[in-house]
Amino acid sequence: MVLAAAYSQVSEAAVRTDSPMGRALRRLLRKRVAVACLAVILTFYTVGALAAWIAPYGYAEQNLDASFEGPSLHHPFGTDRNGRDTLSRTIFATRTTLVVTLATVATGSILLPLTLGMLAGYRRGPIDSVIMRVGEILASLPGLPMLVLISVALRPRFAGSATQEGWVEKFEDWIGWHGLTSSGFADYFIIFFVLSLFGWVGGARLIRTQVLTMRGSEHVLAAEACGAGTLRILFRHLLPNVMPLVIVGASASLGAIATSEIGLTFLGVGIQPPHPSFGALITDGASRTVLENHPQLLLVPAAVVATQIFAFNLLGDAVNDVLTPRAR
């Protein structure tokens, strides 16, 4: 009897570890393409995180005697106009991609869609209307021109200008540490802010629909009958059911976020020089002289960017396959 009870407990535990998420993860790891993409992304992220230790030179380290050098042992991918090492700048640009993608995914693809979508779906009524109408307006705006417009308007207030102290500087005074401006924090923040502002709508809509269908289901009604509070129902009973949507959305948005950062930087409203970004590397590499005489200055960052975003997109597809049965 006791043994049987213990047995059933063990098997119950075994069933519990076999959660839908666990199963999805195992299915994902069985896909060779997905594993390869994960490996590529993890490699880039590791390189980006350790950029300060791996890169042979600093990203802004100039050597005007060694301007436009070809590939050599000292500079495997040559140097740019200012004699800056292309390999090092590519490595530091990977760090920028890391910071921007992770920060934007955390806010724009996970936190905002989750909070707003669940709130709209569970509370309904005026809150729902306000959230969905705001989303509709954001979704009908021309994305890229608006991003440029907002960045142009926001930057001087945020990062400060020649005549005016920006919010970052005021914040630095307040916390008594003045490393933020030089670290390029303001640029990262503006990019992540504008991308998150426009990025939450699609995910929030899907989550809202899912919550709408879930809130009438028996396990939610049972929880409500037992007197569970709103927060408990949201986190214990609804959250696990919308997580697959969130994960699919987050993994699908990685590539688009990386692309947007490159685009904004290219247009001059993203990462500002001398801070490295693939947008800046491509802009430098796109000039006529470079195209004709130093093709590696364009080809190296271009190849890295293409590999990264290709891996992001393929991973997004694989995650979608695994978590949305209908898509298979």
């Binding site: 509709e136 142009v152 685009g263």
Partner: protein, 319 residues
């Protein structure tokens, strides 16, 4: 059911002016919120605050923003007057942006045609070859091209076609029927192929095993006829409406980079210049124009989806 659809369309259309009102107010505020103003931007080295104030007064730029918005809105609603371009010395906005939209529209049409001419057959072919190595490799091949940002693709195309092969000029624009169109057309069309091909593939797969297809095979029709007559017509054609709307978004964003990089006088490079030079009225007019285009495209897509898919149509999730 059609009743519900009509009501839905009317409700969506009623929402258009409200959205435009909010969008215009927001854009109006954001553009004028930035530091500096067109008067100081266009005067260059010339610095005379007294003259500046006179010009500002002439254009009403010295009034509070909300009052400026009221005046702008009144002119738009009563006379359809969107104000003047500061950058183009008081010329009317339609006069300034008209020719540019025409250039971009034709360029976009080229790209569109190529995307579909390549994408649809590719998708159908991949679907027919499902289960073989060809299917994932073909789709993956186009997915790779989709993954290269336009900003990266354009310089690489210039390097290939203008510098190495020397087939085309490295930029500029001499008419829509010229060799200079090769790079922009490729840059705008190739990234979209993967999306169209995948949708065509999914649509084909869903019809490939339907009864009427089996009947066609049983009649002894050859495989090509089965695929193109029976499968494609029933799967891909309904899909077109949806994709056309969705592609519009990508096209406008692609045009911004392509036209800026190659110096093509279209609306994409124009809006970028207008934003950078704080040509308020022009920015506002173009943003509103694109917003209307987006909203119409979205509406067409949603209505097409509802009208074509009984699951969506009957699920009652139409709001």
């Amino acid at each position: 059911m059609t009743d519900g659809l009509a009501a839905y369309i009317v409700r969506r259309l009623l929402f258009v002016p409200i959205t435009l009102l909010i969008v215009s107010l927001a854009t109006f505020y954001i553009t004028r919120w930035g530091p500096g103003d067109p008067v100081s931007v266009y005067s260059g080295q010339f610095r005379d605050e007294e003259a500046f104030d006179r010009v500002r007064h002439q254009y009403g730029l010295d009034k509070p923003i909300i009052q400026q918005y009221g005046i702008w809105l009144r002119d738009v609603v009563t006379d359809g007057d969107f104000g003047v371009s500061f950058r183009y010395r008081d010329r009317d906005i339609p006069e300034v942006i008209g020719p540019r939209i025409w250039v971009s529209a034709r360029l976009g049409l080229y790209a569109f045609i190529i995307t579909f001419l390549v994408g649809i057959p590719t998708g159908i072919y991949a679907a027919v070859r499902q289960g073989t190595w060809l299917d994932p490799v073909i789709i993956g091949f186009f997915l790779l091209f989709q993954s290269i940002p336009v900003v990266v693709a354009v310089p690489m195309l210039v390097m290939l076609f203008a510098v190495w092969l020397d087939w085309v000029p490295p930029g500029g624009f001499d008419g829509l029927v010229s060799r200079s169109m090769l790079i922009p057309t490729l840059a705008l069309s190739v990234p979209g192929i993967a999306g169209v091909a995948r949708l065509a593939r999914t649509a084909t797969l869903s019809t490939l095993h339907d009864d009427f297809v089996r009947t066609a095979r049983a009649k002894g029709l050859d495989e090509a006829t089965v695929v193109f007559r029976h499968v494609a017509r029933n799967s891909v054609v309904p899909l077109m409406t949806t994709v056309v709307g969705l592609s519009l978004v990508g096209l406008i964003e692609g045009a911004l980079f392509t036209e800026t990089l190659l110096g093509i006088p279209g609306i994409g490079s124009f809006i970028y210049e207008a934003v950078r030079s704080q040509d308020y009225n022009v920015v506002l007019a173009v943003v509103l124009l694109i917003t209307v285009a987006f909203m119409v495209a979205n509406l067409v897509v949603d209505v097409a989806l509802i009208a074509l898919d009984p699951r969506v149509r009957d699920s009652g999730s139409v709001r």
